[in-house]
Every structure is written in C-alpha cells, then in structure tokens.
Symmetry: C2
Subunit: 170 residues, 2 copies
C-alpha cells in the first residue's frame, strides 16, 4: 500500500481550506474594486434551494471535521453556523484548520477498516473506513469547496482553476 489514511485526509483538507481563504481574499479585493457589497457575495447561491456561499463554507468545514471525528474517534469542536461576514467565514476556516492540525497522524492508524455508519433518518448507509474516505468524504468535501468557487465565478469574481487548485502564481 502506498498511501496512509492521514495523508489522504488531513493535509488534503488543510490545503483546500487554504484555497477557500485565498478565494475569499480575491473576492474581497474584487468587491472593493467594483463596489459590490460583501454581504451580496456571502448570500449568493446557484439555486434557490442550495446553500449560499456562507453555507458552502460551513458545510466544507463540517465535511472535513466530521470525516476526521468519525475516522479517528476523537472529539471535535462544535460550530454554530452563525457566520455572516467575511471575517467570520475566515475565522470558521481558520478554526477548522487549527483543529485538523491538532489531530495526530497516529489517530487515523487502522481507520481504513473501521465501520462508519451514517444516520440520516431512515437511510443509514454504512461504509468501511477506506471507502468512506474515498467515495464519500472526499467528494462531499470537494463538492462544497467547488460550489463555493462556482458561486464566486457566477458572481463575477475573477478567480481561475489555478486558484482552486492552490497553484496560483500571483
């Protein structure tokens, strides 16, 4: 085997949380230049029944937090989903990242064979830890990071694929 559960989760999440922060920086600069209210961006969404930018960032935070909480069996902080400003969204991202970085790699050892059972009312899908990470947790996390990016693009913020990948040279 070539990859550890740690390597495929915490550093991956931290990298993408840094991307979200950099996207907020570019969005704020664009808003200042164009006279756009930041609250307009925070509340922007792609469909009436999809989360706005704030909700996508909250869900990205929860997605990686619950992944590690479930796989490592450790306590995680509670976040109240009350962020409505750019500084509050930045703090949510920073708090999530700080907690992820506090979890030692050893906490994820053996988690590939752990049973992870989700509980959504009548629907209780069950996964082995490795499949949970690869086929549920990572796509679910990237769903929210990508949708946050897509909301900004749909709102005219000039970000590009290299920003999304964290490879921007600018």
């Amino acid at each position: 085997m070539a990859l550890s559960m740690y390597q495929a989760s915490i550093p991956v999440f931290v990298h993408a949380l840094n991307v979200l922060t950099a996207l907020l920086d570019k969005a704020e600069a664009h808003a200042a230049e164009k006279g756009v209210q930041l609250s307009t961006l925070v509340e922007a969404r792609l469909a009436p029944d999809m989360y706005p930018l704030s909700g996508q960032i909250q869900r990205a935070s929860d997605a990686c937090k619950f992944t590690i909480k479930r796989l490592a069996g450790v306590d995680a902080p509670s976040f109240e989903d009350v962020e409505t400003t750019f500084p509050e969204l930045r703090k949510r991202i920073a708090d999530t990242k700080a907690w992820l970085e506090s979890v030692p790699a050893a906490a994820l050892e053996g988690s590939e064979s752990k049973t992870i059972q989700l509980n959504w009312g009548d629907f209780k899908p069950s996964f082995q830890g490795d499949a949970y990470l690869l086929s549920f947790a990572l796509p679910n996390f990237y769903f929210h990071v990508t949708t946050a990016y897509a909301i900004l693009r749909n709102s005219g913020v000039p970000v590009g694929k290299l920003d999304f990948l964290g490879l921007s040279q600018g």
Copy 2:
C-alpha cells in the same frame, strides 16, 4: 500504509463517472417533463468564461484519463471534444470508463513515488505521484463533476446531494 494508488484513483473515477451518467438521466427526464431543449442544458454554463455542461464532462473525462496515463505510463485513447448531444456525452463517459476499467491495478504499483511534471507553457509544476493524485488530480476531477452538477442545479434540474454522491435510493 492503508490505501493503494489504484484504490484511490480508478474505482473512485468510475464511481463518479456513473454519477455523471445518472445526472444526465435525471436531466433528460426533467427536460422532457418541462419541455426544455436538451441543447439548452448541454450549452448551459455558470459564467461566460467557464465551460458549459458538455465541456465540464469532457474535462472530467480528460482529468481521470490523464491522471492514469501519467501515473501508470500507459497509452490512453484520444477524445476529440466534439460531443454536443446527450447520447454523445453518455458515450464519452462510457468510453472513458471502459478504458479506465481496462487498466490493471498492477500498472499503478509504485506510482506514488513517480515524478509527474505538468507542462503549462512557462509554468511546469512538478509533483511526486502520491501528492499529484491527492492534491491535484482528485480535486481537479471533482471540480468538473461538481460543476456539471451545479450547472444542472442552476438550470432547475431536480437533483440532490445523494445523486452527486451516488447514494440515491430512487
């Protein structure tokens, strides 16, 4: 180590390609019910300088194809990006999936330590194989799958998170 490079790539890509096909099925049913032209969906996009639905599917196909071609060092089919209809997009997905499934797991053995150099004009980022898969290839692939989903949601197609995750019970 708990995960193989194969496990973290080909089955993950195949799962998400099946999701894309299922999303097209729901989009087609919605279009028939509402009298929406399928070409309108194929050409829908979230921003003027983003790819439309067809381009997102072509890029998702290329993203997983090039990932495996680079990591495994095997030949891959060439696709011409000429798809403009739902049947053509379904075929592109099916052809990509068939090729992925033809690559044996052994072809990815040792790819975690292979050097992968990308060549984008003056910018030539270099990765070790494991970092390439985890921090570039998977987010890049999910970017296009999520954006395809987001275009459909933005166009009013009634799909949900469980469809995106391939966990839909319906």
